[in-house]
Structure formats: structure tokens, C-alpha cells
């Protein structure tokens, strides 16, 4: 029938209608399409397909385009068959085009349709790649619209891997050529290509290629393998991935001698602080060496200070650690810290002696607490001596004694102390602390000695509202007046309140 139809015989039409009436048109079309697949001659393929198409008019123009790209006119007959699915037709056209392309004598892969189907397109592509027919493979991928990762990217990657083996081309040219072709094609791993280049002994090229790798995580392992550890380190740092940095660091630690390793760290502050953190928990000695290497005396000092209370147990060891720390601080020209450290050494020794002589717990107390403990224990002389030795500022000492004596409720000693000389902190704190211990009687003693500025406050504290009012009126101080007024409660203070109001009124008149 095909033949008849091709001859444009009138019979054809009749046969066609006959087939249609038998209800076998679908089958006939299908057979035509399949027959085309098994045909080797492009002309014959076209004819068969065109017949098949007869059943599916309206789309016939695709045929010529699909099959060869030539614009050979195809006659469009009437539509005899509605709703014949176009897929099988289109697929066949595509397959045939691929097959015809590889059957070309330039390529020379005479596959039959069945072989091709058995082989699958992936394998065919692989074969093309093996034959280095990259352009054709890429064209096929593009033509079949294969996903980039399976198709074009993969072939480009293969091409690039082949390209790096061309020893006669310079590194720069190869790298540039590869980057031009590949660009940012998704799914292409520059690190794989670089690994291939490295495999061929072209380390420099590999490094150049890695420059194009966007994922630092991929760059670093290869760089390490190529023994470009320092480059790997800076790449890892660039990535911001601390784990990656750490991997490189440990690699470097084993690869380099200690000195070189430290020098490398020194130039990479981020890696340095990461490593320091690790050392702080795991390798304290290394940490010390690190500071030593850098002549970082300040940190060395801090290190020994920490050791003095964290790692050393015996008092001798602790003092020795502090001594080392003080020396380091001097070297760091931090006299302040050095002096403080020396003070601490003196204090430790002294605390030890106190424990021996007086018993009790003194070690590890701060200076302040040591003095307090002495006072609480009734060793006032010793406390005084200590305060003098360590030059505790007067104010602080007064506060300290005041608090300690009040805690002891040693009111007698407190009074003696208050009279020892003029208080540098005033007498209001005395009032406050007595009231805190609910000793109004003692508090009143000091209230009278409070300076004029704080007198009102003191009087209010001991609950002497009336006198507070008098003082406030005397001062003609508005703020104080309102303060007293706010303390006037209940009937008892009624008179006082009136007094204040009167004084206020008077002040306003003036």
C-alpha cells in the first residue's frame, strides 16, 4: 500500500479507506513507524514515516525537519485517524536521526535499531566519548534534551579530562580552554578534572583548575593530596568552614615540623585561634609553645596564671607558676599585671603561714576576704598588718571592717573603730549597717555624727522623723523636705507633717 500511496495512485486512497473500515488503521500506522526504524536507507525511512503520518495529518511537517533537516516537501493528506498519540512517531524520528548520525561513514558505528535500543543512549554516548567524538556526543545530548548533569556536563567533563592529558599544550591554555567551554555548567566538578590533571602529573594545571571550583570543600582534599597544604589552608579559611580548616591543620601538623607549623599558623589568625581553642582543651603544652613562639608574653603570663590555680596543686608549684607569669608580664611591659601577680604570690605564701599558725581556711581567698576572715576570727592585729602590707586603700578597709564587725555584732569594737580616726566613708554607712542588723540603739549613736549632707537620710533611717524634719527645715532643702514628708505616716507624724508644710509655705512667701 505504501508503494501505491507513494506513486500517488488512486488505489491507495481506496485501500486506505478499506483498512480504516476494518479498524486496523492504528495498527497499520504503528507498523509503518516501526518499519522505518529497521530501515537503513534514509529515503526509505522517510517514505515509511510519511505513510505513517498520513494517519496523522497536520503534523507532517515535523517529519522532514526532524529526520534530516531538509525541506523536502511532504504531501499532507487528509486526516484519517484522530487522536493517534504522536509520541511514538516523534521518538522514532529522534532515534533515527541519532542512528543516521552515528552510521555516517565519518563515525562508523553501524548500529541497528534493535541494537541501539538494547544498548541505551547512555552507553552510546559513552562509546562516542571513548572515541573522543565529543562534539557529536554533545549535539546528540542537546538534540535529545537530556538533563545537563547526565548529558552535556558529563561529556564536557570527559572532554576536559582528556584535554588535561594533552601534554603539548601549556597549562594556562588548557585551563583557559576548559573554563571557556565549561563555564559554570552545573554538575561539572572542576575538582574531578583537577584530580585527573594531577594524576597525569600536571600539578600546576590542577591548581589552576581548582581555582574554578566554587565549592571549597572540594578543593581542599585535592590540594592536600598534592601537598599544597598552605594553599589548602587559605582555601579552607576562605570557605568559612571551620571543620575544613581543622582538617588541614591536623594534616599540616603531621606534615611540617613544629616550627614551620607554628609559622604557618602565625600568618593565619583564624586558624590560629581555632587551634588555640583546641589546645586549651586538649594540649595545654602546645598552647604554651605557641605563645612562646610568638613571644606573646602577655598571653604567656595569663597562661601561667591560669596554671597557678587550675593545674598546679602544691603551693610551691603555684607560687612558681605565678613567678613565671610575673616574669612574662614584665617582658610584656605590663607592669601593672606583673605587680598584681607578685602581690598574689605574697598573699599565697602568707595565707599558707596563716593556715599553719591560726588553722582554718585561708588559701585561695581574695585579699579582701582574707582580711575579713581575720577580723571575724578576732585577729585584728593581723588584719591591720595585712592591710598595711598590701596597701588596701583606706576607704575599702573601712567598708571591710565595718561590715565584718557588724556581722560579728561586736558593737563595742565597732564604736572603738569608728572613733579611731575620722571616717573616710562618712558615718551614714555605720547607721545603715546597724539598722540592717536591727540595732537601732547603736544606729542612733552614729546618726548624730553623720555629716550635714546626709543627716536627714540618717535620721530617717533610725526612724527619727521629727528631728529629720527639723534638720531639713534648717537646710531649707526642698528635696529633703519632700523626702521627710514621704516618711510621715499615720497620726504620730501628723504634727511633723504640718510643720513641714508650714515651713514650705513660709519659704515660698520669701
Amino acid at each position: 500500500m505504501t508503494w501505491l500511496w507513494l506513486k500517488e495512485s488512486q488505489k491507495a486512497d481506496e485501500y486506505l479507506r478499506e483498512i480504516q473500515e476494518l479498524g486496523q488503521l492504528t495498527q497499520a500506522v504503528q507498523q509503518c513507524i516501526e518499519a522505518a526504524g529497521h530501515e537503513h536507507q534514509p529515503d526509505m525511512q522517510k517514505s515509511l514515516l510519511r505513510v505513517g503520518l498520513e494517519g496523522r495529518a497536520g503534523q507532517g511537517w515535523e517529519l522532514s525537519l526532524l529526520l534530516s533537516g531538509s525541506s523536502q516537501a511532504a504531501s499532507f493528506g487528509k486526516c484519517f485517524l484522530d487522536r493517534f498519540p504522536p509520541d511514538s512517531f516523534v521518538c522514532m524520528c529522534q532515534d533515527l536521526r541519532v542512528l543516521n548520525a552515528v552510521r555516517d561513514y565519518h563515525i562508523g558505528i553501524p548500529l541497528t535499531y534493535s541494537q541501539y535500543k538494547q544498548l541505551t543512549i547512555q552507553v552510546l554516548l559513552d562509546r562516542l566519548v571513548l572515541r573522543r567524538l565529543y562534539p557529536l556526543a554533545i549535539q546528540i545530548c542537546e538534540y535529545l534534551r537530556l538533563p545537563e548533569v547526565q548529558g552535556v556536563s558529563r561529556i564536557l567533563a570527559h572532554w576536559a579530562c582528556y584535554k588535561v592529558q594533552q601534554k603539548d599544550v601549556s597549562d594556562e591554555d588548557v585551563a583557559r580552554a576548559i573554563n571557556q567551554k565549561l563555564g559554570d555548567t552545573p554538575g561539572v566538578s572542576y575538582s574531578d578534572i583537577a584530580a585527573r590533571a594531577y594524576g597525569c602529573g600536571r600539578t600546576e594545571l590542577a591548581i589552576k583548575l581548582l581555582e574554578y571550583e566554587p565549592r571549597s570543600g572540594e578543593q581542599v582534599p585535592l590540594l592536600l593530596k598534592m601537598k599544597r597544604s598552605k594553599l589548602a589552608l587559605s582555601k579552607a579559611i576562605e570557605s568559612g568552614d571551620t571543620d575544613l580548616v581543622f582538617t588541614v591543620l591536623l594534616h599540616l601538623k603531621n606534615e611540617l615540623n613544629r616550627g614551620d607549623f607554628f609559622m604557618t599558623l602565625r600568618n593565619q589568625p583564624m586558624a590560629l585561634s581555632l587551634y588555640r581553642q583546641f589546645c586549651k582543651h586538649q594540649e595545654l603544652e602546645t598552647l604554651k609553645d605557641l605563645y612562646n613562639q610568638d613571644d606573646n608574653h602577655q598571653e604567656l603570663g595569663s597562661f601561667h596564671i591560669r596554671a597557678s590555680y587550675a593545674t598546679e596543686e602544691r603551693i610551691e608549684g603555684r607560687v612558681a607558676a605565678l613567678q613565671t607569669a610575673a616574669d612574662a608580664f614584665y617582658k610584656a611591659k605590663n607592669e601593672f599585671a606583673a605587680k598584681a601577680t607578685e602581690d598574689q604570690m605574697r598573699l599565697l605564701r602568707l595565707q599558707r603561714r596563716l593556715e599553719d599558725e591560726l588553722g582554718g581556711q585561708f588559701l585561695d581567698l581574695s585579699l579582701h576576704d582574707t582580711v575579713t576572715t581575720l577580723i571575724l576570727g578576732g585577729h585584728n592585729k593581723r588584719a591591720e598588718q595585712l592591710a598595711r602590707d598590701f596597701r588596701i586603700p583606706d576607704k575599702r578597709l573601712w567598708w571591710l571592717k565595718l561590715t565584718a564587725l557588724a556581722d560579728l555584732e561586736d558593737w563595742e569594737e565597732l564604736e572603738k573603730f569608728s572613733k579611731s580616726k575620722k571616717s573616710p566613708i562618712g558615718y551614714l554607712p555605720f547607721v545603715e549597717i546597724c539598722m540592717k542588723q536591727h540595732n537601732k540603739y547603736e544606729a542612733k549613736k552614729y546618726a548624730s555624727r553623720v555629716g550635714p549632707e546626709q543627716k536627714v537620710k540618717a535620721l530617717l533611717l533610725v526612724g527619727d522623723v521629727a528631728q529629720a524634719a527639723d534638720v531639713a527645715i534648717e537646710h531649707r532643702n526642698e528635696a529633703e523636705l519632700s523626702l521627710v514628708l514621704s516618711h510621715c505616716t499615720g497620726a504620730t507624724d501628723g504634727a511633723t507633717a504640718d510643720k513641714i508644710q508650714r515651713a514650705r509655705a513660709q519659704a515660698q512667701k520669701k
Binding site: 565549592r215 583546641f278 596564671i305 605590663n334 601593672f336 601577680t341 586603700p393 567598708w399 561590715t403 566613708i425
Partner: protein, 608 residues
């Protein structure tokens, strides 16, 4: 009194999804170890875990006994041990000791370590060094975002602050980037990004890289949140150092809110037991007072109590049917409200007892003077007295830092607190909480000069020394530039606040919040060059707008603020206020909720 949101305020996205995700993943991980097992939990993870999965869920997945990871040997008899820990070397040693002890005893068990939120190579290496890498299996529980409230997400990583800002350790940045990536996967990409600070920039770049690597998926989503703002804590230490006076902040300062809940002791509950209370928007009473200045809270609560009483009283004169209705429908709610009300009143009383003493007034006065930069001499002597009295080292340190940053001055007080604070000082300086006027030599010169004054028993002169030293600091200039100290004629009305300064009694607008406000207004850093320069951040301020037409106008009024290194409740309250004023809504993401005491503790060296 409590400010309602404007009617056009955008809806918040639903963050409970994050909880579900975390729970499902944890269950999956637990199921990977089929059969009965004992679970060892790191102390820091207990509260967050509690918010995700309670004990009964753990039991459902065959967790037999729960242990705390601590420095004691564990007496577990289970054949399978599972450890849920932060990636810390200390924990690795703990596990190693346990496994090695088993080995010595000839015992074989199954061990599984779950790292949260991620594992670090250093940890695996320690396991390897200890010779047990082959004996344990490692997994990650990528639980990095805990919704503490409808608008507050916390990473619960308080160590972020010390690790990054003191030790220069950048490992958590990756965790931050992962968290942001998760958010953009779930809630769409953010069309507008702003940031300031070195850490902000690094996190942002790392996050972008993650997005690029995994392109395609997120792009299809409509953005739910229009803006993201990343901010380093060290841009603004001042705000975090101030005493908080907004209710939620004050509760945090006084009782310490931990992972969204607080332990109210017997003095609050007025019983002999302490009570753990969740503080979030679901607590109706708390929700109304959390952002209020403390001076308003008590009045509000008593008003509320009266209303409540009135509602109770309605039941008199009801007939049977009404009564039935009342009991079945309203009574439970009223009872609940009653309970909450009495708790918060108790808390208020307890706070008042502690705070309304003269000391607190003086303290606040001093802080305000420091912020405004007047009466420096008085403030300095106040701080000196504070030290002399040995009230609390942490408090003293805080005030010194505040003085130092606002005035560029420094005040040593080492001998009084013990030698480890020598290290604390060097820490504070390194982190920038104590400022240096010029690097190195000048500083030590200043120190020795000051210390000499102290030892010469001429403490009074110290203030003179300072006023001669007090070079106008950057904070002063920034404060002027951004108008952080509002000028008020007469009394600042704390009941009807006009600006964000209300969170500090009208004395100071939080710097961090002001920056955010300014940038959002301009939609970029343009015109803020001078401020950025003063913050020493010229290289690290960035704006990135991707034109996204699909962003609805509603989403453009939602702003995610990311605080790297922690944020305080005062800042949260201030921004909530700003949101109400401008019709925005803020969502907060912080590495942890912080306050001044936490900052100081993070910097302190303590004897372990």
C-alpha cells in the same frame, strides 16, 4: 495599657513547624538505635530538649533511663547508651572514659553520640585519639532554632558570645548559616538583607553560598518575611550592659529566665515550693505586662485583680442555669488567670523588695549619668564605692565596662577580687568591653598611673586622673549622631511612651534598635556612613536587595532581626514598640537571650 497591635500589622509566620521538625528528627535518630537504651543528656540541652520532646515521648521511643552528663561515673546497666551532647571536647572525654572503662571491664555495649546542632571535626578527632572512634556511632541532630515565643527564636548557644567575640573561634558561624538556610527553605527567601559586623557578614556570605549550592528549591517560594537584619553584639555593648527596667527584662535580671521559663522561688509563690513557669505570649497576664516599664506594672496588676474580682462576683445573683454556664465555661479561665496574676504579683513584690531600695535608684541614676555623659566624677566615685563595698564582682565589672565604653576610661580593682580576675580583665579588653584608647603602651601606662594612685591611698584623686584622661569616646559621638539621649521637657511619660527610650526609663534609646530603625527607614546604609565609621565597621555593613515582585506588602512589614552574640529583653521590647508604631512586626533570632550579668560571666575566668 498593653499596646494592641495595629489592625494592619502583618501575621507572624507559624514557627511551631521548627519544633515539629526537630522532634521528628530526634525520634528518627533515637529509632536508629532500636531497643531499650539509656539516654545521657548534657545539662545545657535539657531545657531546650524539654521544649521539643517531653519524657513520655522519649519513653515511647524506648528510652529507658535518663542521665545527666556530668563529671561523675554513670551507673547505667543498659546494653545501649545514647549521648545527646553539644560538640565539646570535654564531653568527648567523658564519653571516652565511659567507653574505655567498659572495655577494661570486658563489657561490650552499643554507643551512639548525637551532636546538637552539629558535630565538629575536632570532637571526632578526640574520639579517635582516645581510641574509641570505632566503638561509637556519631550522628547530628540539626536542632538549631528553638521557638521560645511566637516572635522569638533562640539558638540556645550562649557560648557563641565567648567563642566568637573573645576567642575568635568561628565554628558557630556555619551553624548560623545553616539555621538561616533552614528558615529561607521553610519561609521563603528574604528579598532584603542588611547587616553590620564582621560576624554578620561572614554568616551572610556562608549562608548565600549554601543557597547557591542548593539552588532551585527555595526560589519557587513566596517570601513570607520581607527583611532580614544581621547584627553583631559588639556593635552595641552599652545597651546590653544597662540594668533592665522593662518587666520581662527585670524578671530576667532578677530571676534569670532560662529557655523561656523561670523558676519562681518560695518568696514569689508564697508557698514552700518553687514553681517553674513558662513565660510567653500564651500567658495572658504576662503578655500584657512584659513590655511595660516596671513602674506601670504594679498598677496594672492591681487593676486586673479588681476586674477579676468583679467577674467572680458576678456569680452572685445567678440562677442555676447561668451558674452552670459560668462554671463550665468561664470559671476555668478565671482560675487560670487568677493563678497567673498572683504569680506575677508575687514576682513584682519580690522584685520591689530587691530593687526599690535606695541602692537601685542610685544605681540607675549612675547608669543614666554615664549614658548621658555628665557627672562623670560622681559616677566614678559611685563605682569606686561599689568596689570598696565588695557588693558583687559581676556588678562592679559591669559598671566598669559601662564607664569604660561610654567614657573611654578604665578602673582597676584587681586585688579585691582575686587573681583570676586579672585574666577576666584581659578578656574584657580583648572583647572590647573595656576599651583601649590606643593600642598597647598607652594603656599599660594608664593602668600603672591609675594603680599608683590607688596604692598611694589617694583614691580621691582617681577621679581627677580620669577626667583628664576622658577623651570623648566613640559612644559619645554615636550617641549624638543618632540622638540616643532623647531631650525631654518635663517628665517622661512612661505610661504612654513616645520612643524606644522608654525601656530605659526615657533616658536612652538602645543603640542597636536605633540602628535597625534608621536602616529600615532608609532601606539601606546610605547616609549612615559616619555612624558606620564610628562603629569601626566600614567594611562590614552591607545591603542586599533582590528584586522580588512576589513579596507581598504584608511580608515587607515583617522583619527578622538576627542578633549574633545574644540580645536582651529590653531590646526585644524596644523593637516590639517600634513595630507597633510603624506597623512592622519584628521576629527575633538570637544565639541566646542575654543580659549584663551573662555577658560578664561569659568573660570571667572562674576557678573550675
Amino acid at each position: 495599657m498593653a499596646f494592641p497591635h495595629r489592625p494592619d500589622a502583618p501575621e507572624l509566620p507559624d514557627f511551631s513547624m521548627l519544633k515539629r521538625l526537630a522532634r521528628d528528627q530526634l525520634i528518627y535518630l533515637l529509632e536508629q538505635l532500636p531497643g531499650k537504651k539509656d539516654l545521657f543528656i548534657e545539662a545545657d540541652l535539657m531545657s531546650p530538649l524539654d521544649r521539643i520532646a517531653n519524657v513520655s515521648i522519649l519513653k515511647q521511643h524506648e528510652v529507658d533511663k535518663l542521665y545527666k552528663v556530668e563529671n561523675k561515673p554513670a551507673l547505667s546497666s543498659s546494653e545501649q547508651l545514647c549521648f545527646l551532647v553539644r560538640p565539646r571536647i570535654k564531653n568527648m572525654r567523658y564519653i571516652a572514659n565511659l567507653v574505655n572503662a567498659d572495655k577494661l571491664a570486658g563489657r561490650t555495649r552499643k554507643y551512639k553520640v548525637i551532636f546538637s546542632p552539629q558535630k565538629f571535626y575536632a570532637c571526632e578527632m578526640v574520639l579517635e585519639e582516645e581510641g574509641i572512634y570505632g566503638d561509637v556511632s556519631c550522628d547530628e541532630w540539626a536542632f538549631s532554632l528553638l521557638p521560645l515565643d511566637v516572635d522569638l527564636l533562640s539558638m540556645e548557644l550562649p557560648e557563641f558570645f565567648r567563642d566568637y567575640f573573645l576567642e575568635g573561634d568561628q565554628r558557630w558561624i556555619n551553624t548560623v548559616a545553616q539555621a538561616l538556610h533552614l528558615l529561607s527553605t521553610l519561609y521563603g527567601s528574604f528579598p532584603n538583607c542588611y547587616g553590620i559586623g564582621r560576624c554578620a557578614k561572614m554568616s551572610y556570605e556562608l549562608w548565600r553560598k549554601l543557597e547557591e549550592e542548593e539552588d532551585g528549591e527555595t526560589k519557587g517560594r513566596r517570601p513570607e518575611i520581607g527583611h532580614i537584619f544581621l547584627l553583631d553584639r559588639d556593635m552595641d555593648f552599652v545597651t546590653a550592659l544597662c540594668s533592665q527596667v522593662v518587666y520581662e527584662g527585670l524578671v530576667d535580671d532578677t530571676f534569670r529566665i532560662k529557655c523561656g521559663s523561670v523558676d519562681f522561688g518560695p518568696e514569689v509563690t508564697s508557698s514552700d515550693k518553687s514553681l517553674k513557669v513558662l513565660l510567653n505570649a500564651e500567658d495572658k497576664v504576662f503578655n500584657e505586662i512584659r513590655n511595660e516599664h516596671f513602674s506601670n506594672v504594679f498598677g496594672f496588676l492591681s487593676q486586673k485583680a479588681r476586674n477579676l474580682q468583679a467577674q467572680y462576683d458576678r456569680r452572685r445573683g445567678m440562677d442555676i442555669k447561668q451558674m452552670k454556664n459560668f462554671v463550665s465555661q468561664e470559671l476555668k479561665g478565671l482560675k487560670q488567670e487568677h493563678r497567673l496574676l498572683s504569680l506575677h504579683i508575687g514576682a513584682c513584690e519580690s522584685i520591689m523588695k530587691k530593687k526599690t531600695k535606695q541602692d537601685f535608684q542610685e544605681l540607675i541614676k549612675t547608669e543614666h549619668a554615664l549614658l548621658e555623659g555628665f557627672n562623670i566624677r560622681e559616677s566614678t566615685s559611685y563605682i569606686e564605692e561599689h568596689i570598696d563595698r565588695q557588693v558583687s564582682p559581676i556588678e562592679s565589672l559591669r559598671l566598669m565596662c559601662l564607664l569604660s565604653i561610654t567614657e573611654n576610661a578604665e578602673l582597676p580593682s584587681l586585688q579585691s577580687y582575686g587573681p583570676e580576675h586579672l585574666l577576666t580583665f584581659s578578656n574584657l579588653r580583648r572583647a572590647g568591653l573595656l576599651t583601649e584608647q590606643a593600642p598597647g603602651d598607652t594603656l599599660t601606662a594608664v593602668e600603672s598611673k591609675v594603680s599608683k594612685l590607688v596604692t598611694d591611698k589617694a583614691a580621691g584623686k582617681i577621679t581627677d586622673a580620669f577626667s583628664s584622661l576622658a577623651k570623648r569616646s566613640n559612644f559619645r559621638a554615636i550617641s549624638k549622631k543618632l540622638n540616643l539621649i532623647p531631650r525631654v521637657d518635663g517628665e517622661y511619660d512612661l505610661k504612654v511612651p513616645r520612643d524606644m527610650a522608654y525601656v530605659f526609663s526615657g533616658a536612652y534609646v538602645p543603640l542597636s534598635c536605633r540602628i535597625i530603625e534608621q536602616v529600615l527607614e532608609r532601606r539601606s546604609w546610605q547616609g549612615l556612613d559616619e555612624v558606620v565609621r564610628l562603629l569601626n565597621c566600614s567594611e562590614f555593613a552591607f545591603t542586599d536587595m533582590t528584586k522580588d515582585d512576589r513579596a507581598s506588602s504584608e511580608s515587607l512589614r515583617l522583619i527578622l532581626v538576627v542578633f549574633l552574640g545574644g540580645c536582651t529583653f529590653s531590646e526585644i521590647s524596644a523593637l516590639r514598640f517600634l513595630g507597633r508604631e510603624k506597623g512592622y512586626r519584628f521576629i527575633f533570632l538570637t544565639t541566646a537571650v542575654t543580659n549584663s550579668a551573662r555577658l560578664m560571666e561569659a568573660m570571667s575566668e572562674v576557678k573550675a
